[in-house]
């Protein structure tokens, strides 16, 4: 019986060998794939096993982590002034994934980034718990507070973006109504309820209006049209009489373009036209220059392309293939023209920075857990929509607007402020609530410009004239500019 016994021994050996081969396949060949499977709960357990790194503003964290006792996901995200900062941070939720900075810089915040690999390995060997790195933002806490408080006091939907013209640093990025990401950071029933309430809310609190909503810019777009007129040499000074008949019938149509109220627009110079916000003057400039030239200038200001701050901002729109009358309407910020608040802040910022448009960004640097810099963002020039000389002409015109035009509400003593108001009509037959716009910049006596702001507000009470931009939006812009100037001192 020994021959079959030996064969049975071999057979049993083969059974074990089959198991060994299968195990090698499972735990070596397929191991990484199984371990990183999105449905494998370990991925998320590990993700929440350590306190997350923080997002930092002015040296103070605006986020935190708290331990949830007795739960599978150990650490939960917390936010300080969550509603105020959520347009910057986005959210990080155990149940609902993450967004914006929390998502884009998740590698650093969670500590899983390859650049932290060496440190993580060292920590593992020395037995230290894994830590996430920090994201240091460019934001300015007083400016953000001024922006958010202004919006919430005003009460309607709106957004504010403030930039530092010389670098492109985003100083304020507020959206209203907003949401507190702490409300659904966990994975319990309460979190789902909060999430569903926010998602189903008619007010769309989770929409980041500052970056992701485009509004017809209305009269504020006249700054771009004025820049196009100067850049293309149609007019060469703020005080040169323009060729502007009143009333003016748009080419190819029988429709007269109307001004708001009885304002001195006939053959008005650019300064006066901007001061009173003459539709006829700028509409005619647009249709005279033509679609191509207007589009080229708008693109130089950043229209028609998405911005990555690194949080993505929707592309603002200035259309192509328009006939002269459509171009005329587009040139006063109507028709298809639409802009994000960030885009209009970029317009103000380029003018304030003597024609140089800097790429807007909100992440100053990424830090490892021991605050070594892992990555530093350097300011980058995006384009030059204006020559320095033309930019100064335009600044001069915008300062007139604040000095004695529609934007007097933005005046700050001892500081030179330039701005432009706007009220945009929209909806079918312009029936929806108009948007009140204000964009502005501040210039200090030493010639430097610390801040450029764009404010947009959608409100029932907005009147259909430029005063509303000045009335509703300008005070918020003023507060934001003051906050920045004060914090610089």
């Amino acid at each position: 019986m020994n021959k079959p016994l030996r064969r049975i021994a071999i057979f049993c050996g083969l059974l074990v060998l089959a198991l060994l081969i299968r195990d090698n396949y499972l735990q070596y060949v397929k191991a990484d794939q199984l371990a990183a499977d999105k449905d494998n709960l370990r991925v998320r357990i590990e993700r929440y096993a350590h306190p997350r790194g923080d997002i930092i503003v002015d040296g103070n964290p605006i986020t935190g982590s708290t331990e949830v006792k007795g739960r599978q996901f150990k650490y939960k995200r917390t936010y300080k002034d969550g509603a105020m900062w959520s347009p910057v941070t986005g959210y990080s939720s155990q149940a609902f994934d993450s967004s914006q900075l929390e998502k884009l810089d998740d590698g650093i915040l969670s500590g899983n980034d390859d650049r932290l690999f060496f440190r993580n390995t060292l920590d593992m060997i020395t037995g230290k718990p894994k830590q996430g790195g920090n994201v240091v933002t460019t934001l300015n806490a007083p400016a953000q507070k001024a922006a958010f408080d202004g919006l919430s006091k005003q009460g309607g939907k709106g957004a504010v973006v403030a930039l530092e013209p010389s670098t492109g640093k985003i100083l304020a990025l507020a959206s209203y109504p907003s949401y507190d990401p702490s409300a659904f950071a966990g994975d319990r029933d309460g979190d789902s309820k909060a999430w569903n309430t926010l998602k189903n809310s008619k007010a769309e609190p989770m929409l980041n209006r500052a970056l992701r909503e485009t509004y017809p810019p209305g009269s504020t777009f006249k700054v771009v049209t004025a820049a196009a007129a100067l850049e293309n040499g149609k007019y060469t000074s703020a005080d040169e009489k323009t060729d502007s008949p009143l009333p003016w019938t748009m080419p190819g149509t029988t429709t007269q373009l109307k001004n708001e109220g009885n304002i001195p627009c006939k053959d008005a110079d650019l300064r006066t036209a901007l001061q009173y916000s003459c539709n006829t003057v700028f509409g005619k400039i647009g249709s005279d220059l033509g679609n191509d030239k207007m589009l080229a200038e708008a693109k130089k200001f950043g229209f028609d392309s998405e911005q990555f701050t690194p949080v993505r901002s929707n592309a603002s729109v200035f259309s192509d293939h328009m006939n002269p009358s459509q171009t005329a309407l587009s040139s006063i910020g109507q028709y298809n023209t639409a802009a994000t608040p960030l885009q209009m802040a970029m317009v103000a910022s380029a003018v304030a920075n003597d024609g140089k448009l800097m790429k807007p960004y909100m992440v100053d640097k990424l830090q490892s857990p021991n605050v070594d810099t892992v990555e530093q963002t350097e300011p980058k020039e995006l384009s030059r929509p204006l020559s320095s000389a033309n930019a100064q002409i335009l600044q001069d015109m915008m300062q007139t607007v604040v000095e004695k035009g529609t934007g007097t509400n933005a005046k700050i003593p001892g500081v030179t402020v330039g701005g432009k108001t706007g009220t945009a009509q929209h909806g079918v037959a312009n029936s929806a609530n108009p948007y009140a716009w204000f964009l502005s910049y501040a210039k200090l006596p030493d010639g430097s410009s610390p801040v450029a702001v764009a404010v947009v507000i959608e409100d029932e009470s907005a009147n259909r004239d430029d005063i509303s931009g000045g009335g509703l939006a300008a005070p918020i812009a003023k507060d934001v500019m003051e906050a920045v100037i004060k914090s610089k001192k």
Binding site: L5, R7, I8, A9, C12, D23, Q27, A31, D37
Partner: protein
């Protein structure tokens, strides 16, 4: 053997009586490691989960050491020439099993499940009972050939054990497989685990008697020896029995185990390859036949072919009347997440398997926490137990002992293959337990009895040949046989 060590003046027929190494000290040395390794593992789990050496470390170490010591003394006293590897290997597996069961007891997730009760203390009790069983086998089974007398009683016992789960009121359907019985006051029992041993006794006794008829009376056809029609009877009966198990107890593993064990023993008894061919054909026909109408088997096969789909089905409301389980996919994730070296004791998340994490799926916890390296080591330990069993069969001098040893070893090997293959997704999942490491009294008791019988056979096999009757003509050279 050791003839060179004996003075040449002695008569050759008495030589074998002295000097065959018993290897008991080797066994003792190995047992020290078999106890020390689980104690370190236990400390490790405590440090990983609670950041401190567990309070019960000393008791656990002493307890396990005591059990191993008792077993060792029993072997030393009642089976001094037994194989020295079997006891330490089984002790090591049992100790590691206790550690993993204790580790899973600490899981908050498992604690939150309904019907949670700490399993480690009970498993420790079962282990003590298992060692007692082991010692009892050595004490009361002086010679394994005594079991031959119970050939047909064994058959009846085995049938009763196998049919018990089908008795209304006694049987319990747990997750689709009806292989448990509920004994009031004692909890659940898996009679199939004991049936394994009893059936091996029956097969060995039966085949020893019938082997010549089965082997010789056959016709040659296409290079195979075909058995006579009437000799096909026994294999048909066993086949029918495993099919019935498959149909009524819906347990593929038990069915496969018994039939496989029978084919192995039949092959060894008759030395006819044709029986293997027949066996494979019959099991294929049986399995395919039953799977074609038994939905529970189909579900298992579908889950094996596409565990991810099964996982997704388990997470939504289905109306197909099938209980979908995410266990297999969870088990695969556990293995995959363990990777090459594992997460370390107490640091995995195999509790996500939830139900049966410490019994049928206990191997997944080893996979995650000890990694590929640990699993390979464990598979080799199982392989070593099996090969020592087959080695015992080779060394045994009587056909009954050979058949019984190879039957038990073969069944052990098949069980390891079916369970480990199931949780690693190599073959469809079945409801059996990994010998020694899985939580469950029946399994621990039966496997310790199995090791006891193997040790008894190996003791008989390695025991020096009994001295022949004294030769009255050689009185001067007669030596007293050492006790």
């Amino acid at each position: 053997m050791s003839s060179t060590t004996n003075p040449p003046t002695h008569h050759t027929s008495t030589i074998g009586a002295i000097g065959a190494p018993s290897r008991r000290n080797t066994e003792l040395a190995l047992l020290v490691f078999a106890v020390a390794i689980p104690v370190f593992a236990y400390a490790n789990v405590g440090l990983a989960i609670k950041n401190q050496v567990p309070a019960g470390l000393l008791e656990y170490g002493l307890g396990l050491g005591l059990l191993a010591g008792v077993a060792h003394l029993a072997v030393r006293k009642f089976a001094p020439y037994a194989d020295p590897l079997l006891l330490p290997l089984a002790t090591l597996l049992n100790g590691l099993g206790l550690v993993v069961i204790w580790r899973l007891d600490q899981s908050k997730l498992l604690q939150s499940l309904p019907h949670f009760a700490a399993a480690a203390p009970r498993q420790l009790l079962y282990s003590a009972l298992g060692i007692a069983m082991f010692a009892a086998v050595l004490i009361f089974l002086k010679d394994h050939r005594a079991l031959q007398r119970y050939t047909y009683i064994s058959m009846v016992c085995a049938l009763v054990l196998l049919l018990l789960p089908l008795v209304p009121g006694l049987g319990a359907d747990i997750y689709g497989a009806k292989i448990w019985i509920r004994v009031p006051g004692l909890g659940s029992l898996q009679p199939g685990e004991f049936a394994k041993i009893v059936l091996a006794v029956f097969f060995a006794g039966y085949l020893m008697v019938k082997r010549d008829a089965l082997a010789l009376a056959s016709r040659r056809f296409m290079g195979l020896y075909l058995p006579r029609g009437r000799d096909l009877g026994p294999i048909l009966v066993v086949w029918a029995m495993s099919i019935l198990i498959l149909v009524f107890e819906t347990d593929l593993g038990t069915s496969l185990l018994f039939f496989g064990m029978f084919v192995i023993m039949l092959y060894v008894a008759t030395e006819r390859t044709s029986w293997i061919v027949f066996g494979l054909l019959m099991s294929a026909v049986g399995a395919v036949g039953v799977a074609s109408f038994e939905s529970h088997i189909q579900t298992r096969v579908n889950a094996w072919l596409n565990p991810m789909r099964e996982y997704q089905l388990s997470r939504q409301v289905t109306h197909d009347g099938i209980l979908h389980s995410d266990q297999l996919q969870q088990s695969l994730w556990a293995f995959g997440s363990g990777g090459t070296l594992g997460t370390g004791w107490g640091q995995g998340h195999s509790d996500l398997i939830k139900f049966a994490a410490n019994s049928d799926f206990v191997f997944a916890t080893f996979g995650e926490e000890l990694g590929l390296a640990g699993i390979m080591a464990m598979l080799l330990i199982y392989g070593l137990i099996v090969e020592r069993g087959v080695r015992t069969a080779l060394a045994a001098r009587d056909p009954f002992g050979k058949l019984l040893a190879v039957g038990l070893s073969g069944a052990f090997a098949l069980q390891v293959f079916v369970v480990a293959g199931g949780v690693m997704g190599l073959i469809p999942l079945t409801g059996m337990t990994m010998p020694f490491v899985a939580y469950g009294g029946s399994s621990v008791l039966a496997n310790w009895a199995l090791i006891g019988i193997l040790i008894r056979i190996s003791d008989t096999a390695r025991r020096p040949a009994p001295m022949p009757a004294g030769n009255p003509d050689a009185e001067m050279t007669q030596v007293v046989r050492p006790s």
